[in-house]
């Protein structure tokens, strides 16, 4: 490669390839980024479910929200009905008699369990997975009281741990 013309040509060739390569990066970024939606037209992640006194003692299933609202006297919490395995909707199967059992090293009274109809996962009524392929416990959502009208408000963007209780 002693001929300067050939050297120049191969340099220019490489330069052109490098420029085109660099120029394709923003093009790829533009195309790729535009596929990530900035706005959703999905249901809001924070919503009201009604005043506390409409919920009976125990587990209530809100079908459209795929959510369980659990009431223990004046303490409330909300558990997602979306199975952590493949996203099916779990259902609540109450026991005929309440049982004493140990979960996470604590003993507590269990009144039923959640069952996933798709692949047979089962969860304690506080969300812990104990049978089947579900990899994680059911998700607990943050819950508070809307100051304007006293309704219970769920925030599905905010997960809380399984000791969360809202006392009303």
């Amino acid at each position: 490669m002693s001929d300067p013309a050939i050297q120049r040509r191969s340099f220019l060739g490489k330069l052109a390839a490098a420029v085109l390569g660099l120029a394709s990066l923003p093009a790829a970024w533009i195309l790729g980024r535009s596929l990530v939606p900035n706005v959703h037209y999905e249901a809001p992640r924070r919503y009201k479910v009604g005043r506390p006194d409409v919920f009976p003692e125990g587990v209530s299933f809100l079908e459209e929200r795929r959510l369980f609202v659990v009431r223990e006297r004046n303490a409330f919490h909300a558990i997602s009905a979306i199975c952590t395995h493949l996203g099916c909707t779990v259902k609540y199967a109450p026991f005929r008699h309440k049982r004493e059992m140990a979960v996470r090293g604590l003993s507590y009274t269990s009144r039923g369990e959640f069952v996933c109809p798709c692949h047979g996962s089962r969860f304690r009524d506080e969300g812990t997975n104990f049978t089947g392929p579900a990899p994680r416990p059911l998700v607990w959502y943050h819950m508070d009281v809307a100051p304007e009208d006293g309704q219970l408000r769920i925030d599905t963007g905010r997960e809380v741990d399984r000791d969360f209780r809202l006392t009303v």
Binding site: L35, P37, P117, H119, P133, P135
Partner: protein
């Protein structure tokens, strides 16, 4: 075609002239637009129905059927959550022959998955992924393109699955996209991009529609055309050794590959020997798709309802083997094993560089024996892990363990993968041949895939419990 010898419009458009000698037959292929991508002469062995089963041709014919029927269906279908289901009902009941076109489209999609899978099996078992004696051919690259085409075929089928917006569609997509999300790190963002948000809805339907009718078919068509072009450049099908060597030498000498195949003992003119066979295969494929469409109605269940999953909720059949493994561990079944399978398939020609027995089924007697051993091994270990999962679920074997990592490492699915790796190393160590090891492992994999798919499709009932074919499923409320 007209039997008269005058130069009619039809002949001038498509046909150069009626060949009366070998030389004219060659020119007929080269000058004809529809035939110009065929070689002028084809090795006799490549023409055998029993060698290639024309599975690539069948796949192409099915793709053509899917394109034509799909275009008509697109004239009626509206990809909107509110209207999609209604337009499906219209296609089934109001549009003239709409029911038939939809059935043909659906059955051809299933047939294409099968024919592409079988095509891969044929190419593997005849060793056609190695470049044999030729130093010019790049069959390894074409094998990898073939694996990519298989993945594209599966994606096309899967994206079409959601479009009817009925219960089957909605929940198969829910399960399918959740399998994607079970891949660590990249899974959730990829699902988000695919779904166009966090819940399956209008954005998902539109994205799957665009992928299904535009993006994926274009990519698949481009890659498939390149795949066929590569076969031509590599000297035709990887058939008998002498003809192949001649062709490869011709390529190396800068001539057209078929120029060296002049001997009528080893090769025949493409026109009419290849053209009539291709025509027969295409017509037979169309006939088979039409007849199967008459026999199997395309199901349309209740409108999609996010509140009420059917029990059991299943992905499309070709993913049910995976779903079976996902029911042991989402991470291993949804991520590790699919990745291992796709990578394992793609890397076969790089791992096995032996040149023996190319173009003959299963190499030789020993190859057949190892393939049989592999198949038997696959059958036994797959039944074994299914029994293990059924009789002794990991969580009941280790009730005290809460760590998910523990169950992701130790479960029937990862055991199956480990047993396959063991098979490969064992056969390789005892024969010293990567070809025999690959043969045994591939046959084990094929049997295992078939068995897992059968289990997921036919034997899994409500709550994903095992029901034998003669056992009735219990009545289960679909709404609660």
């Amino acid at each position: 075609m007209a039997s008269t010898s005058e130069q009619g419009m039809w002949r001038r458009l498509l046909w150069s002239w009626r060949p009366e000698s070998g030389r004219e037959a060659r020119r007929a292929v080269v000058r004809n637009f529809l035939l110009h991508w065929f070689p002028t002469r084809v090795a006799r062995r490549s023409l055998d129905y029993g060698y290639s089963f024309y599975l690539g041709t069948i796949s192409f014919a099915l793709f053509a059927i899917l394109t034509v029927t799909g275009i008509v269906l697109m004239c009626y279908y509206v990809p909107s959550v509110e209207r999609a289901y209604g337009t499906m009902k219209d296609i089934d009941t109001v549009v003239s022959f709409g029911w038939f076109l939809r059935r043909v489209h659906r059955i051809a999609a299933h047939m294409m998955v099968v024919s592409v899978l079988l095509h891969m099996v044929r190419v593997f078992l005849t060793g056609a992924y190695t470049s044999s004696t030729s130093s010019v051919a790049r069959r390894e690259v074409n094998w990898i393109a073939g694996v990519a085409l298989l993945v594209l075929t599966l994606l096309l089928s899967f994206t079409g699955y959601l479009l009817p917006w009925d219960q089957l569609a909605y929940w198969a997509t829910t399960v399918g996209t959740s399998i994607v999300a079970s891949i660590p790190l990249v899974g959730p963002p990829v699902r988000y991009l695919l779904v166009g948000g966090s819940e399956i809805g209008q954005a998902t339907l539109l994205r799957f529609y665009v992928l299904h009718i535009a993006a994926l078919p274009l990519v698949l068509l481009g890659l498939a055309v390149w795949h066929v072009w590569r076969v031509r450049k590599d000297g035709g099908l990887s058939a008998t050794e002498p003809a192949l060597r001649q062709a490869a030498e011709a390529v190396a000498a800068g001539r057209a590959p078929a120029a060296a195949l002049d001997d009528d003992e080893t090769s025949l003119p493409s026109s009419p020997h290849l053209t009539t066979r291709v025509l027969i295969v295409v017509v037979a494929t169309v006939a088979a798709a039409s007849l199967l469409a008459l026999a199997f109605p395309a199901p349309l269940e209740m409108r999609a309802s996010p509140q009420a999953p059917p029990n059991p909720a299943k992905a499309p059949w070709y993913f049910l083997g995976l779903q079976e493994l996902v029911s042991y561990s989402g991470f291993v079944g949804g991520a590790v094993i699919p990745l291992a399978v796709v990578l394992g398939l793609a890397l076969i020609p790089l791992v096995d560089r032996e040149r023996r027995g190319v173009g003959s089924w299963l190499v030789d007697g020993a190859g057949r024996a190892w393939a049989g051993c592999g198949a038997a091994y696959g059958l036994v270990v797959t039944c074994g892990i299914l029994a293990l999962g059924e009789l002794a679920p990991m969580r009941s074997l280790f009730p005290g363990v809460e760590s998910q990592l523990f169950f992701d490492v130790l479960n029937p699915a990862s055991l199956l993968l480990a047993l396959f790796v063991l098979l490969y190393w064992d056969v390789r160590a005892s024969t010293g041949s990567t070809r025999y090891a690959a043969l045994a492992t591939f046959c084990a994999f094929a049997i295992s895939f078939a068995l897992l798919t059968y289990t997921g499709t036919a034997l899994r009932g409500p709550n994903w419990e095992l029901f034998w074919p003669w056992q009735a499923w219990p009545e289960h409320p679909t709404l609660f």
